[in-house]
């Protein structure tokens, strides 16, 4: 088959594949499309913002309604080693924890920093019967300084290597041609 015929076949096929026309009324449909509100990239940020707001409201609602029980328990635990009497009086019952004013959620990382320093001023009113006595002074610990210690290392004996004898290379016998 000649190359010219193959070229003709390719041309004819491509022409046929591309000889289609758009459906009738494209102009009308386009003009109708111009009047409808555009749903392009402009609306995307609005939708994203709405989604973020909804998600924020859900998460915020969950955080607000969440019981801050762990934080309340830390208060009572903090009192425990101080005074046995205070421990018995300061223990916060589950019921009183629920009736206590709701605290805002504090992230775990920040919670350690906010661990309450128990002073008579910051004890909540429902713990007003807690009696705190000052802690006894802590005696200084005497630590003896470590004395210098001699390093012990095993004795290493180095023996000299035996002298190396010169290497002798004998010439190869010449090969007859």
């Amino acid at each position: 088959m000649s190359e010219r015929r193959l070229d003709e076949a390719i041309d004819r096929t491509v022409r046929e594949m591309m000889s289609l026309d758009p459906r009738a009324g494209l102009s009308r449909r386009v003009l109708a499309g111009l009047e409808t509100p555009r749903t392009g990239w402009v609306t995307v940020p609005r939708r994203a913002a709405a989604a973020v707001l909804i998600a924020g409201a859900i998460v915020g609602g969950w955080l607000v309604t969440r019981t801050p029980a762990p934080v309340q328990q830390q208060v009572s635990v903090a009192h425990a080693p101080v005074l046995p009497r205070a421990q018995s009086e300061a223990r916060v019952s589950r019921r009183s924890a629920h009736t206590a004013p709701v605290e805002r959620y504090v992230p775990r990382s920040a919670r350690a920093l906010r661990r309450p320093q128990v002073t008579p001023e910051n004890i909540p009113p429902f713990l007003s019967n807690v009696h705190i006595e000052p802690l006894a002074s802590i005696a200084a610990i005497a630590v003896e300084p470590a004395g210098p210690r001699a390093l012990e290392s095993p004795e290493v004996n180095v023996t000299p290597l035996a002298p190396i004898e010169p290497v002798r290379v004998d010439p190869l016998p010449s090969r007859p041609r």
């Binding site: 088959m1 070229d7 491509v14 594949m17 289609l20 758009p22």
Partner: protein, 200 residues
């Protein structure tokens, strides 16, 4: 502006009128370029319905971006670039491109009907049947070409665009367009030769 006035105006004037809020002016621009835009989309997506959809979308986008048209190139070139980007986006979304290449208007089995073959007076029926078979192979092989080669071949072969316009659409130099068309033909002929259509 009346329909006849719109038809007489050039593209730049129509763009100006469309920007001023004249819907007829933009309608005339659509009418003038609808076939070129549609066929560019067809070359990319291969389906009549998808191409029609892309063409419509491209015109709507062009209308909304009309203020960005600076007139550096012709309106048609600018519009075709928009249409081509839309079509490529669509092609990326559809994975059934290879199955869609034989569009409804170009069915595999009716390139030449028996009636066509019988009516061909200047050739023997045997030659006509052989041509139909070759035609089918060529169409199938075009579908298997790499996208870059196929796009260039279809756009150039449509006769609708200049090489400059194709280069503008594909964002490549004219020389590259010509090379791709030539390479597409070379690959097709090599594959046809492997099928037994060896050229002498």
């Amino acid at each position: 502006m009346t329909g006849s006035e719109a038809a007489a105006a050039d593209d730049a004037e129509l763009v100006r009128l469309a920007l001023a809020g004249d819907p007829d002016a933009f309608g005339e621009l659509v009418e003038r370029n609808r076939r070129a835009v549609f066929r560019a989309a067809l070359a990319a997506v291969g389906s009549h319905e998808e191409a029609d959809d892309v063409a419509q979308e491209a015109f709507v986008t062009a209308f909304h971006k009309l203020r960005q048209f600076r007139g550096d190139s012709s309106f048609r070139t600018w519009l075709l670039a928009i249409a081509w980007r839309k079509a490529i986006d669509r092609r990326k979304r559809i994975t059934r491109w290879l199955r869609l290449v034989p569009t409804p208007a170009i069915r595999d089995d009716d390139t030449l009907t028996p009636v066509d073959i019988a009516q061909s007076s200047d050739r023997s029926q045997e030659d006509a049947a052989a041509d139909a078979e070759l035609h089918r192979h060529v169409r199938r092989l075009i579908a298997t070409l790499p996208c870059k080669l196929r796009d260039a071949l279809l756009l150039a072969g449509s006769g609708e665009y200049s090489y400059e316009q194709i280069g503008g659409m594909l964002s490549i130099p004219v020389g590259t367009v010509k090379w791709r068309v030539s390479e597409a033909r070379r690959v097709l002929k090599r594959k046809l030769a492997a099928l037994g259509y060896a050229h002498e």
